[in-house]
C-alpha cells in the first residue's frame, strides 16, 4: 500500500548545488524502483543551521514529497544514513501531500526570523500580566 511521506534531508555545505541535485535525483530513482513517485522536490538552497552539525554551519535543505510503500522509504533512509554528505534526514508520514511551496522556501535562514522577533518579548510580557490579573479577578 502506498503511503505519503514528507522527507527533508540536509546536505553538507561543501558540496555544490549540482551535487545536491544529483543526490536528490538518485533518491528519486530509488523511490521509482519501489514503484513510488515523487510529487514535489524543493531545493531550499544553502541555509544557516540553528546550531553546528558535524562542524557545518550551513546546509543544503531538500524537501521531497513522496508517495511510496514503506519499504521504499526505508531503503531511502538507509542510503541517507550511509551517505556522509547527508547531515540529517527526517521523514514524516502525512495524510495528504501538499504540493504548494512550503514554509521553508518562504523564510530563508533562521537568523533573520529571530532578529525580527526581538520586539516580541515586551508584548508577550504584557500578555502574561494580563493573564494573571485576569486569574485574580475570577
Amino acid at each position: 500500500m502506498q503511503r505519503f511521506y514528507e522527507t527533508i534531508f540536509i546536505a553538507r555545505q561543501d558540496i555544490t548545488a549540482n551535487q545536491v541535485e544529483t543526490l536528490a535525483k538518485h533518491y528519486t530513482g530509488v523511490i521509482k524502483e519501489f514503484g513510488g513517485e515523487i510529487t514535489k522536490t524543493e531545493f531550499c538552497g544553502l541555509r544557516n543551521l540553528a546550531y553546528k552539525i558535524k562542524k557545518n554551519r550551513k546546509g543544503h535543505y531538500v524537501l521531497m514529497n513522496i508517495a511510496v510503500k514503506p519499504e521504499g522509504i526505508k531503503e531511502v533512509e538507509r542510503q541517507m544514513k550511509i551517505n556522509e554528505d547527508v547531515l540529517r534526514y527526517l521523514s514524516v508520514r502525512v495524510d495528504t501531500l501538499d504540493n504548494a511551496p512550503s514554509a521553508l522556501m518562504q523564510n530563508r535562514g533562521f537568523r533573520e526570523d529571530f532578529a525580527r522577533e526581538e520586539a516580541r518579548p515586551a508584548s508577550k510580557e504584557k500578555a502574561s500580566t494580563e493573564e494573571t490579573v485576569e486569574e485574580l479577578a475570577v
Binding site: G59, A103, R120, V133
Partner: protein, 87 residues
C-alpha cells in the same frame, strides 16, 4: 503565600479594571494558524527568547494543540531550523 493574599485584598477596584476576556487558542477554529514544523516563523512565537517552549497558560494554546506544537518544535530543532538552546 500570605503576601499574595494581602496583595489581593488591597486593591479590588484596580483588578476589575484590568479584566480581559480569555484569549482563544490560536490554532483552533476557522482561519486558525496551521502547525507546521517547517514554519519557524510561526513556531518561534510559541518559544521563549532562550528557545524553550512557552507554557500554554500564557499563549492560550489548547492542550491538544500544545502537544502537537511540541512535536513540531522538536522536529524543527532536529532539522536545525530552530535552536535547542538560544544564546
Amino acid at each position: 503565600m500570605s503576601d499574595y493574599i494581602e496583595d489581593d485584598n488591597l486593591k479590588p477596584s484596580v483588578r476589575k479594571q484590568f479584566f480581559r476576556r480569555r484569549k482563544s487558542c490560536p490554532f483552533s477554529g476557522q482561519n486558525a494558524m496551521k502547525i507546521d514544523y517547517k514554519d519557524t516563523r510561526t513556531l518561534s512565537k510559541f518559544v521563549s527568547e532562550r528557545g524553550k517552549m512557552m507554557p500554554s497558560r500564557i499563549t492560550a494554546v489548547s492542550i491538544k494543540k500544545q502537544r502537537i506544537l511540541a512535536v513540531a518544535v522538536r522536529r524543527a530543532r532536529f532539522l536545525a531550523l530552530m535552536p535547542y538552546v538560544n544564546g
